[in-house]
Amino acid sequence: MEQILKAKAINKKFGDVYACNNLSIELYTGEVVGIVGESGSGKSTLLNCLSGSLVPDGGNITYLDRDNNWLDLLSLPEPRKRNLLRTEWAFVHQNPRDGLRMAVSAGGNIGERLMAIGYRNYSQIRAEATEWIEKVEIDAIRLDDKPSIFSGGMQQRLQIAKNLITKPRLIFMDEPTGGLDVSVQARLLDLIRSLVRELGLSVIIVTHDLAVARFMANRLIVMKNGKIVETGLTDQVLDDPQHSYTQLLVSSILKV
């Protein structure tokens, strides 16, 4: 069992408020870690620090790349970091507009990532884009439409297809199924799960939906006020929570 990402003592302050207060986290290959907690608890800030889109005030983050070198992410040159984000990593944003080019066709959005890893044959790119857009349950005839005329849920599905098509090693997800209707949510969660299994992907997923966390994550991290209050096997944290905040969270779930 090998680690792929290690973060130690991450600090990030906005003004006087700690969004991340001395957080340490490690991720193993093939592991899905869920980060849960109320809004404002620092979940997304932690994810942004880990993925390099925010620079933490203190701490260190290392990543084991495809060639088995540990990279110090905070001192990594910007071009290399961008290259990582295009090839070995993927980031699925809460707001699909942050992860898509709205003026480029759906197929173009997906194809762009394939070209970044070296695809040059147009018909092959188009064939894979078609396959993936159907996997996320968007009709293939929409391939040449721009995402600006898609519904929010379709945009989110397109963003997920765009990110998964290159089979990245490490995926960061911020509320990936937040705005989706439940039928599509279930299909996408299953798709992500089977990819994790088949390709041994590692995933960090931020969500406030504990049901999503239960089905997706091997391990849960519960955050409150910028701190980790509890961590453990997902079903252990949800079935036998130890911290008073987690107990409150779990006992507040509505059952259908």
Binding site: E198, G232, Q236
Partner: protein, 224 residues
């Protein structure tokens, strides 16, 4: 195979006054390979709690639980999830699965986790589902729409698809008819012969008499 030593459990509901409940103290027992042991005792005495501590979805703060001579209470979460995949199956009374995933895919999942080929996993899953009298028409549907007894059989198929060293069964035959109950009893006996250690909760005395070698009365470990 399984050794439980001086295990105690209390629940502490921190948002309540007087929210501390002791359930179990000084639980000691073991289960050998090739043996089926029943946990008995009145409802509420802690049978399922004990079983969940062994599976790791309840925290065990006191005592030791050894599986294959390894104290699982020392394991990190990632190590525990690997141990589960490799060695430990758990069949609960309730089916909790992702919606819209077909029955056959759910049964294949633990096999694929162990890098079985798709073809072989499909073969094993189909054999199990047929044996449990689930008509092949149902295999491509999600079990969430099935009847209680059908859901329970899907759960059993998922738990029995591999030869786990340790199998935990929480009322596996509770909502089954006679014929299916007999099939499940046969399946339990076969797992025993293959060397699995089985720990079960069976309210049905007929099932206990047929498949269990010993009984452990959990009310002896009661904390109250």
């Amino acid at each position: 195979m399984l050794e439980v030593k001086n295990v105690a459990k209390s629940f502490n509901l921190k948002n309540l006054d007087k929210g501390k409940f002791s359930v179990i103290r000084d639980a000691c027992f073991n289960v050998n390979s090739g043996e089926c042991v029943a946990l008995i005792g009145n409802s509420g005495c802690g049978k399922s709690t004990l079983m969940r501590m062994i599976y790791g979805n309840y925290v065990c703060a006191e005592g030791q639980i050894y599986i294959d001579k390894e104290n699982i209470l020392d394991l990190k979460a990632i190590e525990m999830s690997i141990l589960r995949k490799q060695k430990m199956g758990y069949v609960s009374q309730f089916l909790r699965v992702l919606p819209r995933v077909s029955t056959i895919d759910l049964v294949m999942e633990p096999l694929l986790d162990q890098f079985e080929s798709r073809a072989r996993a499909k073969d094993i899953a189909e054999t199990l589902l047929s044996r449990l009298n689930l008509s092949s028409q149902l295999w491509h549907l999600s079990p969430l729409t099935f009847s209680g007894g059908e859901q329970q059989r899907v759960n059993i198929a998922i738990g029995f698809s591999k030869d786990y060293k340790l199998l935990l069964l929480d009322e596996p035959t509770a909502s089954l008819d006679r014929e299916n109950k007999k099939i499940v009893m046969d399946m339990i006996s076969e797992k025993k012969e293959k060397g699995s250690a089985i720990l079960g909760i069976f309210h049905d005395k007929e099932v206990r008499d047929k498949v269990c070698d010993r009984e452990i009365d959990v009310s002896n470990f009661s904390a109250s």
